[in-house]
Amino acid sequence: MELIVILVIAVVLAGWFILTYNKFVQMIEAVTNSEKEISVQLDRRGKVFDSLISAVKKYMDHEQGVFAKVTELRSQAKQGNALKDGQAHQAEDELSKIISSGELTSSLNLTMEAYPELKANENMQQLQEEIVSTENKLTFAKKAFNNAIEAYNVKLKSIPDMFVPAIASSLKKDFEYWSLNDEEVEQAEARRVEF
């Protein structure tokens, strides 16, 4: 009978040891993995920003070109009309009067200035979302890293789990939380938004 009791206790203890050991291994891997996630996100940020900004820039240049072209063509057309036909000039004056008098302004503008559909604004909004999201991903990766370390440290220091790493010393790790150093903290504190 006593033997059975001792045996049962031994089995339970061994089971607990194995489960706790495995849990520690899992937590250490979680820390390592979330540390890698930070560099993955950093890498992603660099690449995404470079390619996105150059794409948006290119599009803006293109649209600027479109604007210039439209203006140029219109003035050319006006000149051409005036040269060919003196009456055109007169007609245009009258047109201006109608416009400045306030009547028909909106409808005239609409027909006269039908620009090609421009997308730079939309692109900028998408760029903005991508910047926010990318920065968030980086921040949350750091947060996940710190959370993983916290969970590990709590387990490492609590009773009775602490006895497992005391026996299996390979489970004892000294992880450092992600944070800015003192100098960087001061710099970040001093930073202000300026327009």
Partner: protein, 330 residues
Amino acid sequence: MNFREQIKANNRKTKLVIATFIIIMCIVGLLADVVINPIYPDSLSMSMMAFLRLEAFPYVTAVVTSITILGVFIITKFGHKLMLSGSQYKRLDNVDGGTLSAEEIAVVNMVEEMSISAGMGYKPKVYIMETQEMNAFAAGWNEGNALVAVTRGLMLNLNRAEQQAVIAHEIGHIIHGDSKLTLYVGIMANVILTFTNIFAHIAWFIGGKGGGSAANKARLLIIVLNLVLPIITQILYLYLSRSREYMADAAAVKLIGDNQAMIDALKKISGNHEEMKYKRKSEGHAEGKEPKIGDNFRGAANIFETGDSIFSTHPSIKNRIEQLGGHIEE
């Protein structure tokens, strides 16, 4: 109470509920065992204890618990594929050739951000649901079946930070394995109720045929349990569901590192819910037949549902906001 204690406390509540279910299951099994084989015909409690000491093998208890374990095993092993289909749902991530609006892209981004924050190592599927009502829900617990869905109303009416908080709450449900827990509790409750019902019918029809006072008492108890257990299991389940909601709220705070967005989101959602209720009423829909979002899923996986009593899946908005450290004016 901060979010760490919050999660711990509610984890304890979960264990308590699960333990209660197991105890109820054993009691039902042992009562049936006593009816079949009253070891001490004069004393019910002594007979039950005798079965626990294995003076005789409690066959019924063994069968009932094995069936439950088998059910739990099958669910864990094979899970079930959760997919949302139909015109009501639109998959947002993984679209082939389709285009997403700016808001939809943001939702997909936020789900990814939260899965990074939770250190999940995978991205849940993302769906949008075409309704003006503001709600969201989650299901699944692993790479294969986890999903998050938000309604169009939620997407268009909350700002980015608030949507982020709601999505973090849903991710909280996923990392806590709430769908799995619900399935387990569902299996246990169904096994308990089905067997109690069968036993009660048998006890009723073949009642009073010897076995001494122990067997008679056991029969009577089974018949009574058959009447009260449906209510008790339901109350326990709902209690569990509400505590998982608090846990998901706490997880949202942990994942984002800010409670204000969640508080703002809850306020806006509850306002919208009142509005929709009023609208439905004025449009002449029957009160009791409100179409629920994600009917196939447990209510508790939603971000919001009206609630306040022991008969609701969700805690009241007021209580939730107070747990988040906020304040709401009546």
